[in-house]
Symmetry: C2
Subunit: 162 residues, 2 copies
């Protein structure tokens, strides 16, 4: 995406978790895994941690580079497998139009995710596409819609003001 060279704003919508808040989020994820007999293994947990710490959408190779505790990168499959797991459980989402990943900011698992993406600062905000059911009606006749990818672009409030 072209962010425009004249944007001086920071990613600020989701500042990224740290300290006890981050720890809590990870514990919550552990619990949700335990409840469904899924395993939040070390690499999965690490990738989730990196996503939660981040201020905005993360590229897979950013995660790969940041994976190791002392600067050693991960191997690509390690991170891609973890991302696949996190998406499956609803802990993370892929933003197709950015080739990037974000942690889920909403509670419900299995929900349909939708995003607004600021073309200026790159922030991505998740929202609940309540109208997904409307979509099924709006879609061409006869299609049985099962999932929806919805990514809207525009300007976040800060970038409109600035």
């Amino acid at each position: 995406m072209d962010m425009g060279a004249d944007c001086h704003h920071e990613d600020g919508v989701h500042p990224g978790l740290a300290g006890p808040v981050l720890a809590d989020a990870l514990v919550l994820a552990e619990r949700r895994c335990a409840a469904t007999q899924e395993r939040l293994t070390a690499p999965r947990r690490r990738v989730l941690e990196l996503l939660l710490e981040s201020d905005g959408p993360q590229k897979a190779y950013d995660l790969i580079a940041a994976f190791g505790a002392h600067g050693e990168p991960a191997k690509p499959p390690t991170v891609y497998r973890a991302l696949e797991f996190l998406e499956r459980l609803g802990f993370a989402h892929r933003i197709e139009s950015l080739n990037a990943y974000v942690p889920c900011r909403l509670d419900g698992q299995g929900h349909r995710a939708a995003f607004v993406i600021c073309e200026c600062c790159g922030a991505a905000e998740e929202f609940e596409p309540d109208f997904a059911t409307q979509l099924a009606a709006a879609a061409p006749s006869g299609y049985a819609v099962r999932s929806v990818t919805l990514e809207a672009r525009g300007l976040c409030p800060a970038c409109q003001a600035g």
Copy 2:
């Protein structure tokens, strides 16, 4: 996308143009370019032709491979530049979740494109997202939405029946 191993359907929604119908479509494209002082150059025209001939979403490297008249592939930038042009003029759309391209099947230029994609046969059907304006309201507070990427997945009528 996982199309499922058990689908025996063909891409049938848009059979691909040929002969006089194809020629007409290209002439129409020429006219629309001329009207806005844009140039439908040879590589651009060739890529549009390949898209119009196709039965379904085409990958960039499929187009690259098919570009030459006698089996010689194009160089990647040739095709990517043509696709960029065709998208800009509304003659083609990129489907993000497939990394693939389709010719525009609707008349209006500059419209917001939306797609339903059959998870079984891979067909992609374009439709007009009339509710895009509703989206602006549904989006998180304060975002000024400028464009929307909407890609729904499900089963086309033929694949539901079969």
